[in-house]
């Protein structure tokens, strides 16, 4: 005899959250692996500080500020969703996207000026790692922006799938945390 | 016996490695016989018979679980035994090299072993250095120190009869040592894939008797002085 049961399926919010945490765990290993290589190589090879001095700590500080702020607006988008405030959701998502784009803009400016100075990925170990780490990170920012745009479009039509804002937020904050470590590792420690 | 396939050991430290090999061999052979034996016996004893039901044993209760845990504890003890024996031998081969009586530099490159002898003055970088490709001449019963380098990719210096192997990596320098106990000619295959010429990258180790070695030295460095100033007892 079998018993009738309504559903075994858990809420998609919970599923999504667990999935994205697994994703973050593996991303920690990806970035962790790259950072670990950088730390090891930098401790082993002297003379990197002079190279690091070419970077602009001011631009990076601005960029850090931008990303931190975008994390806040992302969190606030979710808070707005919890209050069923559709306009708030759209507004904060838009802010997050714009801040993300601003971050990429500043990053692109940095890249261009370095390359104009002849500091390309193949100009020595420091630069190889600089482009590797910031490049990987920038790719994640781009992915996050795409996700946020999708959510923004969906939120414009209504909030049925608004729980995804929290899930996307987890990813966005993770990318922020990566930057929190890249900032001192690349720009401040010389 | 299975281990007879190993090439003859002609080094001082090889016997210890071989004895650990034997230890592991007997331990694992015993376990193989016990486990596979039990498997076959159980499979035959308990094959399906009409009207006979299987027993209900979950193995969760301690008296049952003991059948699982006691052998496992035994495995743990044997493992530790293998580890302790291994630690000593490893330290002897790779960590505590005795002072060398002959120092030779071996450089791997695609696809040759460049062997550099310091010459009579015993030092590298002097004009009497001599490079011979793929021929490593040493004297029996002397401690030979090798400085290992690579010019391009990773190679691996393998001396099966001496129980010696070491990768060489470009940009780094390694040290290895051995003391051969028997004269003869042995091959030195390269054991790390290093490109299309990896297969066939072979050198030769020539272990001379003391007299032969002196003769060889005289031939290579016709000058009066001997390369073994400090220590020339056989």
């Amino acid at each position: 005899m079998r018993m009738a049961v309504v559903s075994e399926q858990s809420a998609p919010a919970r599923r999504g959250k667990i999935a994205v945490w697994w994703l973050i765990a593996s991303e920690v290993m990806i970035f962790g692996g790259a950072l670990s290589c950088y730390i090891l190589a930098r401790t082993a090879g002297p003379g990197w500080s002079a190279e690091a001095a070419h970077l602009s700590a001011i631009l990076a500080t601005i960029n850090t500020f931008v990303l931190l702020t975008s994390s806040m607006t992302m969190a606030m988008a979710f808070a707005a969703y919890q209050k069923a405030d559709q306009r708030g959701v759209c507004r904060f998502l838009l802010c997050t996207i714009l801040l993300g784009l601003a971050f990429l803009g500043i990053k692109a400016y940095e890249y261009i000026s370095h390359i104009a100075d002849g500091l390309a990925p193949w100009s020595g170990s420091f630069w190889s790692f600089y482009y590797l780490l910031t490049g990987l990170h920038a790719l994640h920012v781009i992915a996050g922006i795409i996700v946020n745009i999708i959510l923004l479009l969906a939120a414009g039509k209504g909030l049925h799938t608004g729980y995804r804002i929290e899930i996307a937020g987890l990813y966005w904050h993770f990318v922020d945390i990566v930057w929190i470590f890249l900032f001192p590792l690349l720009y401040l420690s010389y | 016996m299975f281990l007879n396939w190993l090439p003859e050991n002609v080094s001082i430290h090889g016997a210890e490695i071989d004895s650990i090999f034997h230890l592991i061999y007997y331990i694992t052979l015993a376990w193989f016989i016990v486990t596979v034996g039990a498997l076959i016996v159980f499979a035959l004893l308990f094959r399906r018979r009409d009207g006979q039901r299987a027993a209900y044993i979950t193995g969760d209760r301690l008296p049952h679980a003991a059948w699982l845990l006691i052998p496992t504890a035994l495995v743990l003890m044997l493992d530790l035994w293998i580890d302790f024996r291994g630690g000593d031998a490893w330290a002897r081969v790779k960590l505590h090299a005795p002072p060398s009586e002959l120092q030779i530099q071996v450089t791997g490159k695609q696809f040759n072993w460049e062997i550099l002898y310091p010459g009579p003055d015993g030092r590298f970088g002097t004009p009497d250095d001599l490079q011979i490709d793929n021929e490593l001449h040493v004297a029996v019963n002397r401690v030979v120190g090798l400085t290992l380098k690579s010019k391009d990719v990773i190679h691996s210096l393998y001396l099966p009869n001496l129980r010696l192997q070491q990768n060489v990596i470009p940009g780094r320098e390694f040290h290895a040592w051995f003391q051969a106990t028997k004269p003869g000619v042995f091959e030195i295959p390269c054991l790390e894939l290093c490109g299309f010429g990896h297969s066939g990258m072979v050198g030769h180790l020539i272990v001379h008797t003391a007299e032969e070695y002196d003769k060889w030295v005289k031939e290579q460095w016709p000058a009066p002085s001997s390369p073994l100033k400090e220590s020339d007892q056989p």
Binding site: V28, S36, P184 | -
Partner: protein, 92 residues
């Protein structure tokens, strides 16, 4: 998991983050020894990361599984780095 649970004050956290960020930047200007400065700026970074994780990522109100998912990989990476130190950094 309930919607009515009070969430952290996101703006206050942000203010803290910005203050910490400036602390980190200013620390590089301090007339301290290099290792002390480095220690300081990474301590600041760690605090910032923890703030983001706990508040923005709601780690504060999660169960053990999510905590494990956040912490285990970090420990693993740290362990890996430490194990590789003798090999890569102190090579002769």
């Amino acid at each position: 998991m309930t919607a009515d649970r009070a969430h952290p004050n996101y703006v206050a956290i942000w203010v803290w983050l910005v203050i910490l960020m400036l602390t980190g930047v200013l620390a590089t200007l301090l007339p301290l020894e290099k290792s002390a400065v480095i220690g300081l700026i990474f301590a600041v970074a760690a605090v910032k990361a923890v703030l983001v994780a706990l508040n923005y990522m709601h780690l504060k109100s999660e169960n053990w599984l999510i905590y494990a998912l956040a912490i285990v990989p970090v420990l693993l990476v740290v362990a890996m780095t430490l194990v590789l130190f003798p090999d890569i950094v102190y090579r002769h």
